[in-house]
């Protein structure tokens, strides 16, 4: 049975990046649970896992009525003190009984949703790729609330340097011959299919969060470049509009930083085609070139003015 998840990614609602200690406070969602922080090669903080109980229809491509009962596993993360994510996933398994059991049964299997009745794995995986119909499991809403939870922390000043919409990445993982497929569904929604060798491990969820983070960086940098209207507005104005990218985004690109050996090849294959890092590098070069050209123009204007004064 497949594993499915959804990651929402957005700019942390704060004027500047926040320090590691603030990340810990923002993500302290559970009393007595430590926020895990890794510092190399970039500060990355992850909240403790939380569970949400669900008992509802599961999305199905053929519209069959399939009931799932269990818990959704969720967490929030902050990368570089600047980008916030809310992430949730469930592992589907076939229920042994064909009725709802006492809740303690499901709590003993955190992050598992048991499927009651007949259902085909393919049908559920395909059904999940689209927006959930009303009355069906809604992982997006849960991830969205977890992202809200981080964004509404009183430690944040809510004065973000620019406004960009959140992106959502919906993923399905199944076992088989290793493969990965990344699809841009709309300007804000992406879907990913990960086929992994052997049993599912949480490393797959880490991979999808990492993909979501970098996809958001690319999307956001593209938006900022578009808004700069290079060539349509005077050079200094375009350069000024690119300043937030330099201040807040360019240093955050660290693909596969925390992924183990098992997951790194997936990133590598996506990096060969379509070539995320290649696109990122070309955008970064464009930003830097604009800033450089503008600096040179400013310098020559200053030099000219100096000559005239003499």
């Amino acid at each position: 049975m497949p594993v499915m998840g959804e990651v929402h990614t957005g700019l942390l609602q704060n004027s500047g990046e926040i320090e590691e200690s603030a990340c810990r406070q923002v993500l302290a969602l559970t009393a007595g649970e430590t926020v895990r922080v890794s510092r190399r090669p970039i500060v990355h903080a992850v909240s403790p896992d939380r569970l949400t109980g669900v008992d509802c229809r599961l999305p199905s491509a053929t519209q069959s009525r399939v009931r799932g009962v269990g818990t959704v596993l969720s967490r929030c993360a902050i990368t570089g003190g600047r980008v916030a994510q809310g992430s949730s996933y469930v592992r589907l398994t076939r229920a042994e009984a064909d009725r709802r059991l006492p809740w303690s049964h499901y709590l003993a299997r955190p992050g598992v949703v048991e499927v009651l009745g007949k259902a085909k794995a393919r049908d559920l995986a395909d059904g999940f790729a689209d927006d959930p119909p009303p009355g069906c499991l809604d992982l997006g809403a849960i991830s969205g609330r977890f992202l809200d939870l981080a964004q509404s922390s009183p430690l944040l000043d809510r004065r973000a340097p620019f406004k960009v919409p959140r992106t959502r990445l919906r993923w399905v993982a199944e076992s088989g011959e290793p493969a990965i497929r990344f699809v841009l569904r709309s300007d804000r929604t992406r879907s990913v299919l990960v086929v992994h060798d052997g049993a599912f491990t949480p490393a797959v969820a880490d991979l999808c969060e990492d993909l979501a983070l970098h996809d958001w960086l690319l999307t956001t940098l593209l938006v900022l470049l578009e808004r700069a209207r290079i060539g349509a507005v005077p050079g200094p104005e375009a350069a000024a509009r690119l300043a937030p990218a330099v201040d807040h985004l360019l240093h955050l690109w660290m693909p596969a930083a925390r992924l183990g050996d098992a997951m790194a090849p997936y990133w590598e294959s996506l990096d060969r085609r379509p070539g995320f890092s290649r696109q990122w590098q070309s955008l970064v070069d464009r930003v830097r070139d604009q800033v450089t050209v503008n600096t040179l123009a400013l310098l020559s204007v200053t030099a000219e003015a100096g000559r005239r004064r003499r």
């Binding site: 890794s38 510092r39 949400t52 509802c56 818990t71 709802r100 003993a108 009355g135 992982l139």
Partner: protein, 318 residues
């Protein structure tokens, strides 16, 4: 140059979860309200007399179950100093221990109920509150936050609010509440976890009793550490309850305080409290790492534990 495998670790990025020493069973010799204890040694003697045969039975059951008959059975006694405070440890504790000994029972550990709410800088009750995952009624998709009545926890869907009046002034018809995992008919339970009528929050008796069960099962951690560690008995019992450690180890030779399973020998008047306790315990998400540690350890000594926590908690009502 040959390639080199690099490994890089960061302590702060890893979770470290202490493991608890564990007996096979933790037997609670009695849960008495302060007024029962204050009623004097006769009330206590009566209680211990009822408990003694059950304590012997559970010991022999575990001796048969464990290879080599080396059953680790620890006993405990919880003193209620949370809901009423009177008398003093100096007066009460020697009476409890003495009366138990006269009935052939040894109290290995003595705990204060208020320690389930707060002990030093740890609040075990808060640890449990943050780990509650509400039992979802059917049609819960996750699209809205879980419906919760602050301070209450139930095992199903509540009856629609009383007294609400729909448009056109017609009162809404009553509909029954419903248990989520019902077998045919519902037994709907709604438990008050706390109130804030006083100056601060007052936890309810069932909630603290649920915390007490989780402590005895060794299931709670605070920042990866065990929240309460038993402290050797002082030479003299203090005059104030606050001066008494949260859990006192009375018998230095006793097996560990926490255990794979628990048994509480209680008066039937505690039955509703324990139904509430089980309703709460069925909705506590215990750390998966702690569950794994306990499962590994029990299997390594040939003891098969139930998957669900509530099934490790048993009672004798007598």
């Amino acid at each position: 140059m040959t390639s080199v495998n690099a490994a890089f670790g960061e302590v702060a990025a890893e979770r470290r979860i202490a493991s608890a020493p564990l007996s096979h069973v933790s037997v609670e010799l009695g849960h008495l309200y302060m007024e029962d204890v204050e009623a004097g040694p006769e009330r206590l003697r009566e209680q211990f007399r009822r408990v003694a045969p059950w304590a012997r039975t559970v010991r022999s059951m575990w001796q048969e179950r464990v290879p080599g008959g080396r059953a680790r059975v620890s006993t405990c006694f919880l003193v209620d100093d949370y809901f009423s405070r009177s008398s003093s440890p100096a007066e009460l504790v020697p009476m409890i221990l003495g009366t138990a000994a006269e009935e052939g029972l040894s109290v290995d550990y003595l705990a204060r109920e208020s320690a389930c709410a707060q002990a030093d800088d740890v609040e075990p009750a808060r640890l449990v509150e943050d780990r509650l995952v509400a039992d979802p009624p059917p049609e819960t998709t996750g699209s809205r936050p879980p419906v919760q009545e602050t301070g209450w926890l139930c095992n199903g869907a509540r009856s629609p609010g009383n007294g609400t009046v729909q448009a056109m002034g017609r009162a809404q018809r009553w509909a029954p509440p419903s248990q989520n995992a019902k077998r045919g008919h519902s037994i709907f339970v709604d438990v008050e976890l706390w109130d804030e009528d006083g100056p601060g929050r007052t936890w309810s008796c069932p909630f603290l009793a649920a915390v007490w069960q989780l402590l005895r099962l060794g299931m709670l951690r605070s920042d990866g550490r065990l929240p309460l560690l038993p402290v050797p008995a002082p030479d003299t019992w203090p005059k104030g309850w606050d001066a008494l450690p949260a859990v006192v180890q009375v018998n230095a030779q006793a097996p560990p305080f926490s255990a794979y399973t628990t048994l509480s020998v209680l008066s039937p008047r505690f039955l509703p409290v324990e139904l509430a306790v089980r309703t709460i315990l069925g909705q506590v998400a215990v750390d998966a790492e702690v569950l794994r540690q306990v499962a590994e350890r029990s299997e390594s000594e040939g003891v098969r534990l139930e998957d669900e926590l509530v099934d490790r908690v048993s009672y004798v009502f007598c």
